[in-house]
Amino acid sequence: MAKKRQPPVEKASVQLLVNDVEITVPEGTTLLEAAKEAGTEVPHYCYHPELSSPAQCRLCLVEVEGAPKLVPSCTTTVAEGQVVKTDSESATKMRQGVLEFYLVNHPLDCPICDQSGECDLQDFVFSEGRKHGRSKAAKRVIGRDDFGGDILFYGDRCVMCTRCVRFMEEMEQKPILTVVERGNRAVIDTFFEQGLEEAEWAGNVVDICPVGALVSKDFLYKARAWDLEHTPSICPNCSMGCNIEIHTRDNLVQRFKPRKNIEVNGSWICDYGRGGYEWLNQGGRIEKPTMKDTHEPGNGTQEPFGWEDLLRGLGARLKESAESVDVIASPVSSNEDLGAVLGLLKALGGGKILYRCPTSAEEVKLPGKEGLRRTNQLAPNVDGLKILGAVNVGDGSGAGGLEDIGASNSTVLVLGDRLEDQKDGFAENAGLLVYLGSHASQALSQADYILPITTYVEQEGTFVSSGGRVQRFSKGLEGPHAARPAWSILNELTNIISGSSDGDNVEEAFQKLSRISDAFTGLSYEDIGPEGVQLDAVAKKD
């Protein structure tokens, strides 16, 4: 199944030649985008596909046969039979000239610049620039300015592309940034005392800054770009399902960056989502699977076990427990986790799944991108949980709602929720209390079984966004040695209880979902490309 793409409606096709490659694109396509289709990336700074094009950086000028001079490829649209040359002698010479102009005032402070290694100026000059600059004069010094919030401005490095100004104007629609002064004294600034702390999407200006002029205070000097591993993932901090890249180093998350997905978040993520990664680096992990020593009741010690013995024992105990099972899931649980829970419950004869989710009264919209917002639900898989039949309990802070849980002889399975709002000895009267968690929980320290699971960044799987889109995330960190994905543990338990032999891989874990919910029918794990699949579309197709 291919990703869902709107076919260009009511637009005629135009055929043209870009660098001797014949391509057909919809009418109205810019030469820059057409060149991309033809496999050529025209260097540019001011152009951004999701913002207006001022055509002012003058780097994307290309030669069009018959035109009296070079034309900006970011604003010139295609015409039938056009012959475009992005690498003609005049275009190349022009680009080299413009790059030299940039270096008149841009400091060569790459060794201490955060952008180094992912800098468009560095890249373009390295590939096309002159070996030596001819400007010998002292460079203009503007210095550093705190723009407020997480944003720091290094004015000397600015190339005046004004992407940041346009983002604030057109996307967030809070025109906090502007250009002051003119000529080569022009500089980006905030209005008087106003700053970006008033903004809620300001982190994006760092992403779209082609150089190191706008940097994140949080990330400043933390890591060099080339030392970072990039893992495609989904933002875990609300149910919007923004596509992100998780940048890691030394097995720690260093930052979240937006990953482009026009259908969901475009090129943007909110500051709330961007900033919420520290919990993935948090210590206090459950390192080993343990079981409360039942031979000496009351002493509270838990002996470590190997997975195999432990799960066999647990399977047997679960089988014995006639009463129904109460599952408390976490809204960060993946669909595969939930599928595995449902499979286990089926083998055991039923039960109910509850979850609690912190919410926010306010949504945080990005006015320039329709539909994009930080949703009320501050967890990534609320909609997956809903589709799979989990019931929301508790209040808006993700607490409470568990008063009826833990009756004597009942079986309680806690999946991922640390129960931080609950008192010590949660559900102590329950017949069997199992905690599958990544981090130690005070309330659950007396659980009969404590089983270490990986966080979502330490495994792969899928979430369903609030728009009903199922999207994959990948593994970016190594979890504690003994920790396993929850679905892997739960599926093994089901195998033990029902004598089945389902494989221990994410593809099969996902496959179980189509047997459980119509929403997933006909969809396989491999079908979900980098941009996800709309679940309605899957349902309609069949």
Partner: protein
């Protein structure tokens, strides 16, 4: 009549009443035949007015010399959108001071021209974007507009024709780039004065994104006369391609600098030697900038046969521009003058386009270095290359305006540069 000096060779049409305070008043202007053109135009169809202006061959006096009637005819004919007429009175090209006098002495002539233009292009709103530093001009214009409204010449019912024409005067805040037509539109809309990318052209999407025509003060000032007296009358002066008269702003080393209204095609040599009384102190002529600081400099040799028409100056190797003739005698340090101009442009560059933002300042730096006696032959090569990269590569022509004097001065006055390189001084 020229101002402050006049000369027998002049043909006074638009400058006829310069220096006459009575002509500034509505009554005084009417006594001198004012508003006959507008009343006549209102009897004609808008198309007819455009045809008449086309026939007259009037070309834009703001610098580019684009045929005015043709520009008007680009306006959409059956659009339901509002149209705008803009009058560019943000005169700020170094060496130019003609619009200021037209605004000061003949405000009703301009209002009349604007009203005719608005009628022809189907606009109900006119904006005159007037340079803010023109305090007197702004006052005179404001009074004239007020009087015209009171007399029913502007407003809901122009001369009882049922036509509505409103006029607003807007004072600029002192940026050269706001005289560039699309920069002016941005400024008028309350944005930064930065030129826009064309296309779309103003006739399709101009002020507030609506069909707009923008004309220079001098262009619009000629309109009432053309409408009142006909295109053939206007074509009595000038050449086939450059009909009519033009104000020449002469400054620099001449005995009688000032504004002179002359038929186009007038010899430059004669302008300097006869009309302006010759070069000061009997010095030899060194160079002339014929059209304001953005055009190539002419050497004394090139001045010899240069005729002051759009085509004539082009033939001589420069451009007529807005006919601001800057005369430089043998005592002039050309490199210093070029540096002065490029500093001006570096200061006035809006900073959008990289070649202009960085190039204008860099070129100025090199010129300063040369003037300080620290230049090398290589700098001249660099100057030529940089200015090449600054020509035709930006949104507007401001960076081309630096390139023109730099390149032409290196071409014609290379020895001046070389003397500086060798450590010698040029002309003290």
């Amino acid at each position: 009549m020229g101002y402050p000096y006049s000369h027998a060779s002049e043909v006074s049409i638009i400058s006829k009443h310069f220096g006459d305070p009575d002509a500034r008043t509505l009554e005084g202007w009417k006594k001198r035949g004012g508003y006959e053109g507008l009343q006549k135009a209102l009897q004609m169809g808008p198309e007819e007015v455009i045809e008449l202006v086309k026939d007259s061959g009037l070309r834009g006096r703001g610098g580019a010399g684009f045929p005015t009637g043709l520009k008007w005819s680009f306006m959409p004919k059956d659009s339901k959108k509002p149209h705008y007429l803009l009058c560019n009175a943000d005169e700020s090209e170094p060496g130019t001071f003609k619009d200021r006098e037209l605004l000061r002495w003949a405000p009703h002539q301009l209002i009349e021209g604007c009203a005719i233009g608005a009628y022809a292009i189907g606009a109900e709103q006119i904006y005159i974007y007037c340079r803010g530093e023109f305090f007197e001009a702004n006052q005179v214009l404001a009074k004239a507009v007020e009087d015209a409204y009171e007399a029913g010449i502007l407003g809901q019912d122009v001369f009882g024709s049922g036509k509505r024409i409103e006029l607003t005067v807007h004072a600029g805040a002192g940026a050269y780039i706001c005289g560039e037509e699309t920069g002016l539109m941005n400024s008028l809309e309350g944005r930064r004065g930065e030129p826009r990318i064309k296309p779309p052209f103003p006739a399709a999407a101009g002020l507030f994104g609506l069909p707009t025509t923008i004309n220079n003060v001098e262009t619009l000032s000629a309109i009432p006369h053309i409408v009142a007296k006909g295109s053939d009358w206007y074509r009595k002066w000038g050449t086939e391609d450059s009909p009519g008269t033009k104000l020449f702003c002469v400054s620099g080393h001449v005995r009688r600098p000032g504004n002179y209204e002359l038929p186009l095609g007038f010899p430059l040599k004669e302008l300097i030697n006869e009309v302006c009384g010759g070069v000061v102190d009997g010095n030899a002529l060194k160079a002339v900038i014929p059209g304001g600081s953005s055009v190539p400099i002419l050497s004394a040799d090139q001045v010899e046969d240069c005729l002051l028409s759009y085509e004539g100056v082009q033939e001589a190797g420069s451009m007529l521009g807005c006919a601001s003739v800057i005369v430089m005698d043998e005592t002039t340090d050309v490199v210093h003058q070029v540096m002065r101009m490029s500093s001006f442009y570096a200061h006035e560059s809006c900073g959008q386009c990289t070649p202009c933002r960085e190039g204008t300042a860099w070129v100025t730096n090199i010129l300063k270095k040369l003037l300080a006696g620290k230049g090398t032959e290589e700098d001249l090569t660099t100057l030529m290359e940089l200015t090449d990269q600054m020509t035709g590569t930006t949104i507007c022509v401001l960076s081309d305006s630096v390139a023109a004097p730099v390149q032409s001065s290196i071409k014609y006055f290379r020895e001046d540069y070389q003397k500086l390189i060798k450590g010698g001084e040029v002309n003290g």
